[in-house]
């Protein structure tokens, strides 16, 4: 039910309706998505889409954090038996 899929906003419809619509690309598959819940969204942003509505704008800098953490782990592996 709470499934939400990330996609890229590739065009925003030019109208003042409360149900502001955009075209969002999900790895090349395009769908119409309502932007009314994310007024801060801009063209080329990635959004999380749930039931045809964007519910969150993805923070691309924060998205890299886990990989930074993994890189740090690789640079300082946990102590293993017999390590010299």
């Amino acid at each position: 039910m709470c499934l939400a899929v990330p996609g890229k906003v590739i065009s925003i419809a030019d109208n003042d309706s409360a149900a502001k619509m955009a075209t969002v690309s999900f790895g090349g598959i395009r769908r119409e998505v309502c932007l009314t819940l994310v007024p801060e969204v801009r063209l080329d942003d990635y959004v999380l889409v749930h039931a045809g509505f964007a519910i969150s704008v993805i923070d691309e800098a924060e998205a890299q954090e886990i990989f930074e953490y993994l890189r740090q782990m690789d640079e300082s592996p946990p102590a293993v038996e017999g390590g010299s």
């Binding site: 499934l3 819940l37 990635y46 045809g52 954090e65």
Partner: protein, 363 residues
């Protein structure tokens, strides 16, 4: 796809699983609240990567599973009205009511339609001015602003033939009910990332402090879940009980304020019955007076016989994390996705369906 594939990297997943093994010195029991997380855990075999002493319990985060049987009976009764077009998310169609499900009344000729977005129901209402369109508005905080925006848009367009059957529920009161139970085994929680994308986690800070459990707001991809488990484990080992956010790319502490504003403009909080739990105080949403003419329960008066639950199904205990699916004698024998006794065997987020589909069936 960007923001999906990189969070499914098996090498990084193994690295995080190793980290969890390294930091774990005692047996711990962690509950993932959301059914989407339960399915991701089973599908990706995350449970098999964890230390044998670690137990994952599966929470109530499946809106389809906790929708009271009386409301499903009402949806079925509405669908059987000749003038009604009943619109629903697909998950709901096979959930058993007292004697049948929406799919079987559809097979008998009822006009039941599955939607991708609630906005589609407005289009159907505009195209069918001589029919009554009822949208079965189920869901947690993730879906509530979307259903609210749809009702608000129906009002803006002045649609007289549109209404909603509301079954909206809120996560924190159900978590409090689970944590307050005297026999609660849950020592840490993975909070539902998409619910928190809307609601934020301020309420979870209160829960964490009063119930003395660490809570980690967690996403849905394998690396998200493993990192969430690692963060919860670190807190358990240290003895701290704070709220942390693993799902940083999508969730902020205050949540999505615009979504909350739309949700609060259309809905207000009410006591609500949860299938498998009973009534939980302040755990649901109902339309505000200014939108009450969109309430299908007010618009239609239908004689509904008293609801009857399966006597054998233990989905209530499963939703509360007290039992696991293989502990049910009917599991995979008299209850399967093809012939479900309860909603947890039907939904894409139900724990029983996850165990069945990904072969966690006792030998």
């Amino acid at each position: 796809m960007k923001f999906l594939d990189e969070y499914r990297d098996p090498v990084a997943a193994t690295r995080l699983a190793d980290e969890i093994h390294c930091i774990t010195t005692r047996p711990w029991t962690i509950m993932e609240v959301c059914g989407g997380q339960t399915h991701a855990i089973m599908k990706n075999g995350i449970d098999k990567l964890l230390p044998a002493t670690m137990t994952l319990l599966h929470g109530p985060g499946c809106p389809v599973c906790v929708t009271p049987i009386e409301l499903i009976d009402k949806a079925i009764a509405l669908a059987r009205q000749p003038q009604v077009i009943l619109c629903s998310f697909g998950d709901m169609l096979r959930v058993p009511g007292s004697s049948r499900d929406l799919l079987s009344v559809k097979a008998e000729g009822a006009d039941v339609r599955t939607l991708y977005s609630p906005l589609d129901s407005l289009k159907i209402a505009e195209e069918n001015p001589d029919r009554e369109v009822v949208f079965f508005a189920i869901g947690f905080e993730t879906t509530a602003p979307i259903n609210a925006a749809t009702v608000r848009e129906a009002k803006r367009r002045g649609l007289p033939n549109f209404s909603v059957l509301v079954a909206q529920v809120l996560v924190p009161p159900a978590i409090a009910a689970i944590l307050d139970a005297p026999d609660c085994r849950v020592q840490a929680l993975l909070a539902p990332g998409h619910v928190c994308a809307v609601s934020g986690w301020i309420e979870y800070e209160r829960l964490s402090a009063t119930c003395h459990v660490p809570i980690v707001v967690t996403g849905f991809e394998p690396l998200d879940i493993l990192e969430g488990i690692a963060m919860a484990t670190r807190q358990l080992e240290r003895g701290t009980t704070t709220v942390e956010n693993q799902y940083r790319r999508a969730v902020k502490r205050e949540g999505n304020l615009e979504a909350q504003r739309v949700m609060n403009a259309v809905f207000e909080v009410t006591d609500r019955s949860w299938r498998g739990f009973g009534v939980i105080k302040a755990s649901g949403l109902v339309l505000r007076d200014t939108y009450s003419h969109y309430d299908a329960e007010r618009k239609f008066t239908l004689p509904i016989p008293a609801a009857t639950e399966s006597t054998e199904c233990i989905s209530g205990l499963i939703l509360q994390g007290r039992k696991k699916p293989p502990e049910c004698p009917a599991f995979a024998v008299r209850c399967t996705p093809a012939r479900p006794l309860g909603a947890t065997m039907v939904s894409d987020e139900g724990a029983c369906a996850a165990y069945y589909r990904y072969n966690r069936v006792p030998a």
